[in-house]
Symmetry: D2
Subunit: 359 residues, 4 copies
């Protein structure tokens, strides 16, 4: 059959062949839009970003864009990012809980040697912390690594294999799987909600009653009630790990645009939204525990994705990965605020009819 | 700045402007590869598919392709799909638990009228079931709809608004939010794990000891031990809702290629893998409770995505959405089996070094 | 060694020997106190109860008693109870997902025969509903039974064994375990949170600003903030299934006093508290999804426990088990309101110093 | 009405009046049985215990007793206990994420001063570790304390209040609630599953094929399949935090007998069981992350409970609380093994008919 559209792609994308993908037959194209400017306050710095988002679902960019307007008119949003690091959690087989306890003790006593071994595998990487768990004859070690501007799963996997070899050599203990789901990569998990993974991101904004009314066409009280009834109680009665409205839409849009791993939208979209009325004004915040992003390597090497990162002014400069996490946090705040307000004012279905979608 | 790559896209993609996206500045391009043929057995039918996957992460297509080979040489994989339907879960505010109880009772008594009202909003849609919950002064209704070949969130949102209007008119009860996170859309949730959403998908394959050894370079015992130590116990100790290795990678690849909503990878990648040794042969299965897919509407209208669906022979024919869910299930089975085997044989890090990634 | 206290017990307790316990050496004695009167409104009925609670932890009875006073002065609390029924969830081994799907289909088609078989095992029992799940080669059936005034786990286990024998006879499918943790008995679970088990209980009270201030020594706003920061957000960040302060204390106290199964405090204490300010007054509610109680059989046969049930006016009369669930709900509401208020007014540590404990 | 049984109690129990309970009207009596001897191996020590259990549910003591026999004939079970400590997790209100971040930073920098302040409140207590979390305008601190032989919630609550006062004085930050459900006390939670609380307990036993057949009347293979289908997959499909059969029964029995807080059975019964076939022999293990026990204070002061502790040879000697946790772990192992074997051999319903109960 003819694949004239799939095969009609930017020649530069040929770079992907073999490295980013196998059996490549062309490219699928995803519409790219810009939301913003998004004004971020981080520490002392204030910066505006045009946020590139790739999506096939109408209303998303418009919704984030409306949120950015609210944030801008409110003097920007505050962002805090904590660099937890990429993690890999191998699982080992021991003879029993006594030997398992010894393994955990040995790791505690030999952290410096383990860090040296990890470092030797890649000078861009630094082992920060090791957490352990034991169940019956299985022991898990969760190693957290600073991977610079790279998302880093490849580096940490290789480094972890070195550590596994050390343990095998020193203690004659077998590793069952280099990844033991104690990482936890690309799965929703309470471990990542509680400990964080990659970048842990918080963002907040204070919006005046006037702006809530004029731009969001609703009231602080109504927004707070939606957060309570939907994001909190609604997620409680559903046993959901996502106490939010639609982080996934925004995270997916930015991840796709900037060459991040689309599968990491799963953990990247977990999180908790809060809202309160503050003397008729609105306080609104988001928390994302597990944002795995990088500005070098993987999909960021590709022509269109690299250009999208360029729109944000991000490349391989020190701190750029943190900045990308800040942008994700701010964009999620914008999108969450806008959709929550749409729900509060009863706009969702109308938005669906006007554009192609909503939540 | 120059955006020569982003702006160098297939003219047909212009269709997206305004409908699929706002403030469009071009397209991001995602490399597309083919894995397969994937041999599926569904009821009496046996069918081979070339599975299009869009990704920027090396090794994924190769890994799924290897899984397809194993499945093919094993006579294909069995797939079962149950159509649960798209859901929307509005939340209402009542005076107290007595009125809440009355609301739930009224809904039970008036299901036929409610179905008629929903139907009136869109003839392609059918309300199948209503589930309810109450906490204090809040009541949630979860409406499950058959939406034909469409993923359907737009249709069900509009239909649900009609039902909400009916309840407001008949009972004078206010809806706080048209979506009350009782849906549950784009968030991981036990409600969807337990009840299913969209399409509930099971897939399994029986692989001979010989094929496990020759193609997967490991043994049935080793694969079963990885599933036990990683997918099961590893996810238990991490409080994960994903008792699997990397459903998200495969689901994201197929969703992106075929124009599905990338944010629905979150719920679409939840699920449970099983494996057992059956007289030295391997039994391997996957379960995906919440696969939201469609072959019409949304991103499926776009040129490259429509072509990718064409490679699967899917368009707007009755049953095509179910077939797409079957392909997702089979591809996930292939990818899960291949990565689990790589972990069992200690290949993961090597794969990482050879290609750009793994899990 | 001398066991003069353990062996110094009420002669009537000898009844327990062999039936309630094996290798009996005497009795442990648990102090019994009375809280109340607790005023309950259920449908049209209004009734006052003196609530017996057995505990070794100071401040608990006093705290529930204070809550009862608030409820009384507020005209009583509203209670709604839904009888879900006792459940048993056996797990079966099938050849694969095709046969599993057939099993589930067969059960749907033969519900009437299955109900007859269950009924035949015990005339006091009625099979209400069957829910199913499948993962790989395993199928679970969750059978919900009305067991009258008995908690009923023995009856439903025996009845379920009959159903299992029928399936074995008709379909030649083997049951791996008569209880497959799909019940879910004595473990916290989202299945019970979502579906309910035993009795599903809601209770609420509206308290005037005046009473909140005079009796609870705090304000509605402060109580609402504690519920938000502790019961809701605090439990979200902890990955807790209990969005409450201390249901377990009250449920354990009443269960111990009335001869319920102490292990069922686990599921019986799951639940969600809500609070809102209603024109300066306080709206406060509790939800308990899974209260397994009975007024006949098991520990209710014992002399001291039977007397405690007598204090509530409950025995084997039709509806008494529902009434006991109402009392549990009301007592939990009282205790939850009192402790939340103590936290809001900064009393907890003082309570700890004065009595022996708090939460 | 006459309360001749409730009021017919051991005179010594009068001690409870006012301290352990308010509005005391007498005692409820719970039958006490002995299971054992239970042979425990901890480090180099080997010790036999007669385990007192208080219950009203037939078959429990018999079942644990059978497990003790299997353990004894297998040379005893291995136990490992890690003392995490009692925890209290207050929640604070900050102006925003910037101040929240500062609070967390201040705590990190001033740990030594904080430890001193905590110590000053009670010389028997030692602050070990502080963990933090932030969501919007709320910050939680989880303080882990060594409380010697006491369960310790009273001590840690008072000590935590001192720390709260210090933070208020130094940073002018308000504490919303002294307990912010980040503790997490008496609620099931992933935080405790992952971090542990009180005592973290592991126990395991290796049972020969011969003993499995002769005493447990089944095979290692069958027991392993029940653990897989029920404790693991069954709990996965139910969204349960308890990957076990009935820890709650055993924990409740020992807690009631020895004067522990019955409400802490909730967290104390969470945990994960494993089983594997080891050359036809059986390896079986249990993990309990959150066992809150003490041998002094609270209910351990009471005559019958103190005598039950005496049967175990435990009082206020250094290490006795750890020993009690070891006994809980060993007894849970015995009960879990026995019930799992009963299910594997199809005995459950028969046990129900013979005695009064089972799971």
């Amino acid at each position: 059959m003819s694949l004239k559209h799939i095969t009609n792609y930017d020649p530069e994308m040929e770079k992907a062949r073999g490295f980013n993908i196998e059996k490549m037959i062309g490219c699928v194209q995803v519409p790219l839009g810009l939301a913003g400017p998004l004004r971020l306050r981080s520490g002392q710095a204030v910066k505006d970003y045009q946020v590139p988002m790739a999506t096939t679902e109408g209303a998303l960019v418009a919704s984030v864009n409306r949120g950015c307007k609210v944030i801008r008119e409110s003097g920007g949003c505050e962002v805090v990012v904590k660099n937890i690091g990429a993690t890999r959690g191998p699982v080992f087989k021991v003879r029993g809980i006594k030997q398992g306890d010894e393994l955990i003790g040995w790791v505690k006593k030999n952290v410096r040697q383990i860090k040296k071994v990890a470092k030797a595998s890649d000078k861009h990487l630094k082992l920060l912390k090791i957490k352990s768990q034991m169940i019956g004859r299985y022991v898990w070690l969760r190693m957290e690594y600073d991977t610079g501007e790279a998302m880093g799963m490849n580096m940490v996997t290789i480094a972890t294999e070195r550590v596994v070899e050390l343990i095998k050599k020193e203690l004659k203990i077998r590793c069952v799987s280099l990844s033991g789901n104690y990482c936890v990569d690309k799965k929703p998990s309470w471990l990542n909600m509680i400990e964080g993974r990659g970048k842990q991101v918080w963002a907040e904004v204070k919006v005046s009653e006037k702006i809530v009314g004029e731009v969001l066409k609703t009231s602080s009280e109504k927004i707070v009630e939606v957060v309570k009834a939907k994001q909190w109680l609604g997620s409680m009665v559903s046993g959901s790990m996502g106490f939010n409205a639609h982080y996934a839409n925004v995270v997916a849009g930015v991840f796709l645009a900037t060459g991040q791993d689309a599968a990491q939208v799963v953990e990247g979209s977990m999180g908790i939204t809060t809202a309160e009325v503050d003397k008729n004004d609105l306080y609104f915040s988001v928390y994302l525990p597990s944002v795995m992003v990088g500005t070098v390597g993987g999909g960021t090497r590709l022509a269109t994705q690299k250009e999208a990162l360029g729109i944000l002014g991000l490349s391989n400069k020190k701190g750029d990965a943190i900045k990308l996490a800040e942008v994700v946090g701010g964009a999620v705040l914008a999108g969450e605020l806008s959709l929550t307000a749409a729900l509060a004012s009863g706009d969702l279905a109308r938005a669906h009819m006007k554009f192609g979608r909503g939540e």
